[in-house]
Every structure is written in C-alpha cells, then in structure tokens.
Symmetry: C2
Subunit: 340 residues, 2 copies
C-alpha cells in the first residue's frame, strides 16, 4: 500500500527474483516467466504498491506511448471534437493522449513547442496559430499538423480546404444579392502573411469586382469576445456591409447575439455566415448559416496519419484536405426577394 518511490529492485528482492524477471512481467512484452515467478512478482507488486516508472522505461526503450494534441481552444466544440476523435483512434492503438490548449496565445504555443521538443511524446498532432514553421520543423518527433496553416510540404497536414470553404460561403452570399461583404477573421503569425481565409476572400472579391474596401477586412479574435468587438466596429463603419463572413462559429454566434442586442436582426438587417457548424449554430435564433467542417473525420484522419508517421518516420509527407459543406439556416437575408 505504500505509494511512491518503490522500484523494480525492491519488488525483485521481495519476490526473490532478479530485476529482469520483474521487468519481464511489468513490461507486458511477454518475456517468458514461470507461473511461480509471475505470481511471486505480482504479489510483491501489490504489496509494495509498485508502479513502473515510465520515465526510466521510456529513456531505455525510446518509446513513451504518449501523444500530445495541441489545439487553440478546447472550449470550442469544433476543436474539442477534433481532439476527441484523434484520442479515440490513438487510444485504440495503445497510446495515451493529453491535450495542450494554446488559447490562441503565441506565448502558450511557444511553451508547448518547448514541451514537445523534450522527448516526452512519441507523436504530436498540432494546430498552429502562429504558423511558426521553424519551430515546428525542429520538434524532433513525428508530427502532423491539423489545419492548413502553411504551404509546407515537408510535414503531414490534415485540414479542411479553407479556400473552398471560404468561397462556398462567399458564393452563397453573392448569389443572394449581397455585394458589400465583410470578412471577420484573425491575423496572426510570425510569418506576417495573410490568413488563408483572407486570401481566398481577396481573390473572390477581385474576381467578382466587389468593393475591396480595407474597412471590410475586420481583424478580431476568433472568440465570443471577438464577436462583440466585431459588432462594435461594424456599427462605427461609415458604410455598413450587407453581410459578414466570420472565421468561425463562436465568433459568428457572438456577433449574432450582439447584433440583436443592438437592435439589428440577423437574417434581415444584416447577414452572417459562420464556419465549422458547431452544435450552437443550430440552437441560436436565428439559426446560423455556416460551412460545416468534418470534425470527427479531421481528428481521425490526423490520428491515422500520425500513426503511420510514427511507424515510418521516413515516409513521404502527405497533405489531406477535406471540403466544407454549406448548411443553410436563418442568418442570411435573401436580397433578391427584396427587389422583386
């Protein structure tokens, strides 16, 4: 019943066998052990409350059977489901998984990179907000990126097709007669490069000859707080947009609520399209029209890719992108009707 600091040696002594024998029973690798020895060892383990020191074992075997999943916001159902799906798959293969929450913070992300470099994990499944590819390449453990933050081809990537998803949302708004369309998303990154969403937006705007007013690109955090800020900024604009495409649903739903509080009815006075399709998108009033991303698929695919990569560190990196799907609810006005 003692708990800490009892090691294999003491177990061996109590059981009257050698350390090797104890190791053979605890490492479940099935080294041959006589029934008698097995029993003696198990009894000793129980009596002493022995727990194998994974640090020592891993140091020797170079395997930790631990995977780190790093995401930007565990409270966002999108990310927690991606993590959960990855966990399901990984645990089925004998790995334990822990999750790191960067909370959209560069400092936290950097901390986790440091942790990831420490040799404690057999594998890493990361969503990078900063897109700091230098850090990521130097991680030293099998890694898969969740989300297509960069062009990088040397690292396995599993994500959704941001360009396609963004265009889907924009197209939807365009078809319904919206012309002055804003985009609300975050601009992070050590590489000072515009986000993919933003680039897809710029592309779309120029293709269709829509107004490319810089006021229409609104940079806010992808959080509820960001949504409220978005609405504040919106209301101060001299020429208000017809519609806003929001970088994720958390942001979009918070904006939707803030609009209502300000006396503007989403789906009538202003149109909002979100991204992700989290459960709350179906529950808010009006329902949020959004682009669904396949979270479970994403998590499972990331796990699968990581498993393969852990098996073969030399394998060719892959880039797997899933398309989004528009789900229509009530947050977008149809301006065509208005004209008839």
């Amino acid at each position: 019943m003692a708990s800490q600091k009892v090691n294999i040696h003491e177990v061996a002594r109590l059981a009257g066998v050698s350390k090797s024998t104890v190791s053979r029973v605890v490492s479940e690798r099935g080294g041959s052990v006589s029934p008698k020895a097995l029993e003696a060892v198990n009894a000793a383990i129980k009596e002493l409350g022995y727990a194998r020191n994974a640090l020592a074992a891993s140091l020797r075997t170079q395997r930790t059977y631990l995977v780190l999943v790093m995401v930007p916001d565990i409270a966002n159902p999108f990310w927690s489901e991606v993590a959960r799906a990855a966990q399901d798959r990984l645990e089925a293969e004998g790995y334990s998984v822990v999750v790191g929450n960067t909370d959209w913070s560069e400092a936290r992300e950097a901390r986790y990179y440091e942790l990831a470099r420490s040799g404690r994990f057999d594998g890493l499944a990361l969503n990078s907000v900063t897109g700091d590819m230098e850090s990521i390449k130097g991680l030293g453990s099998p890694t898969v990126l969740i989300g297509e933050r960069s062009e990088e081809l040397e690292i396995d990537t599993v994500g959704s097709d941001t360009r396609q998803a963004t265009r889907l949302a924009l197209e939807y708004l365009y078809e319904r007669g919206h012309r002055r369309i804003a985009i609300a998303t975050s601009e992070y990154g050590t590489e000072r490069v515009l986000s993919r969403r933003r680039r897809a937006y710029d592309e779309f705007v120029s293709e269709r000859g829509l107004p490319a007013d810089p006021e229409l690109a609104i940079s806010v955090r992808l959080s509820a707080e960001g949504g409220r800020e978005l609405v504040r900024r919106f209301l101060e604009l001299r020429e208000r947009p017809d519609a806003i495409f929001c970088g994720n649903d958390i942001l979009a739903i918070a904006a939707l609520d803030a609009f209502k509080a300000a006396g503007l009815e989403p789906g009538r006075d202003v149109s909002i399209v979100g991204m992700d399709d989290i459960p709350a998108a179906a529950q808010c009033r009006p329902g949020l029209t959004t682009v669904r991303k396949p979270r479970q698929l994403l998590g499972a695919a990331a796990a699968e890719r990581l498993l393969e990569r852990m098996r073969d560190p030399e394998a060719q990196a892959e880039r797997l992108l899933f398309p989004g799907e528009l789900v229509e609810r009530g947050s977008v006005a149809d301006k065509r009707k208005d004209r008839r």
Copy 2:
C-alpha cells in the same frame, strides 16, 4: 539543424567542453560557466539543433515540471475554464500543463489513472467521475481533487458546495410554487452511492414534504444527448413534474431546446433550473435560470492548493468549498402569479 537524437555528449564534443559544462548551461540552474564556454556551448547547441531530453533529466532530478489536469468534458465551458484558470496559475510557476479528457467514461478515467501513476507528472489536478478513491490514493504524486466527489479527507479537495447549490435551486423553485420537482443528474461511481446532488435533493424533498416519487429522479448523462433523453422520458411520465432541476447547464439547455421542439415552452409550461452558469445559459431563449459556480476561482484555487502540496507533500489535506449563486433568467415559471 539536425533535429533528433543529438545528446549532451555530442554538444560537449563540438563545443570542446565536458558534458558537465553543457549540463550546467542547459539546466539553467546557474552552475558557474565561463563566458567563453557558454558561448561555445550555445553555438554547438544551435548548430546541432540540440534539445534536452526531459525524460533523462527528470529521471535524474525527480522533477518533471509537468502537471496533468483531468476533466470530464473539455467541450463544456465550465470545465475548460476551470482547466484554463489552473493552467494560468501553474504556468506562472514554471509548470507546463496538459489536460486529460475523460469524456465521462470510466474506461478513460482508468487509463488516465494509469498514466498518472507513471511518474511523468509532478502534480495532478483531477475531477473524478467514478469517485474511485482507491485508485486516487495510490497515484503516488501530489494530487488535488476538483469537485467534492467524496467525503475523503486525506486528499486536498477544491470544489463547489453541491449541497448548498442544489438547495438554492430547489428553494427557488419551491418559492415560486413548484411542488412536483424532478431532478435530472447522472449516477456513476464504482462506489454505488448516490450523487451529492441527489442526496441534497432527497433531503430537501423530505424536509418540505414534497412528493418523493422515484419517477422524479431521472438519471441521464450530463450532456446535450442526455438533455434530449430527459425530455423524451419526461413526456412519457404519467404525472408530469412542474419543474426540473438539471445537474449541469449543458443538460439543461439541451432539455430546454427539446421542450421547445416538443411544443412546451420553458418558463411557462415547464420550469428548468440549471447548474454552472456557462455563457450559453445567457444566450438561449428563454434564458436559463441557473446556479453560478465560480469556475476561475475553482481552477485557480485548485492550482494553488496543488502548488502548496507539491512544495510540502506532508501538509495537512484541505477541503475548500465555494458556494454557488442563483442567477435568475427566464426558464422558471412563477406559479404564485397563476393563482392570484
């Protein structure tokens, strides 16, 4: 720029110093090193892309500077905020934190206990759903329990006062004329003991001489799915309750939506009180009347307690309970009015 498998020895060779010197610079413990050696070592580290092997270091020092926070549902804002608050505090003291998501699953929880016993963590902050005190006591690392799952006095506990919070909700319903009050909560546990919420409920019911119909104690998972199941079961009841006290807000809000879908208006045809006060409680229609728990405080206090415990493993265990606070919104009918 090489990444993996380069160790202190190679760095030492390249820098033209001994392993000891390299260790002195990387372990930031400030062993005295000449400026010249320091520079040489840093150059070598950079050139080789060296990263310190934390497994080996921890094996030697018996410190990992890693803490595991285990919670039942990272997607629930209540839990993710508790975790975040704990993380804030712990990181400020130099610890890294990773979170384990048990997803209300006994199997997962057991897995995490195993992980926790492996010596990889300096400290553990756990919410136990199973209440498996045997496992918890044998963990072998400084531990604080989040949530008052058991009477246990040997282990530090930080939680909210469930009995007080439950009575607060029930009292509120009672005052407003509700008499047939149901409770929807989960019954888990290897120790087959009723949950605290349930015990507080039973106590209240008998004090006030309310109907103690076993039908009124509805056991469901504390999830959105549980909320929908709750409403299904509710609708089949021969004698419907006036009001339901729900074990958490996730459950309550899902129930609220399901009631609306079934044509019953919460706050008029049926009354609902939740628990936690997550952001969504203010956003649903009608707003959810619920009992607020101080999440940040809970997380921070758990971290604080854990820090003290890590400093002094022999310290007397403490039990810290925070009271809940009723926040009134629109999901409860006032039946007194009806009578006048």
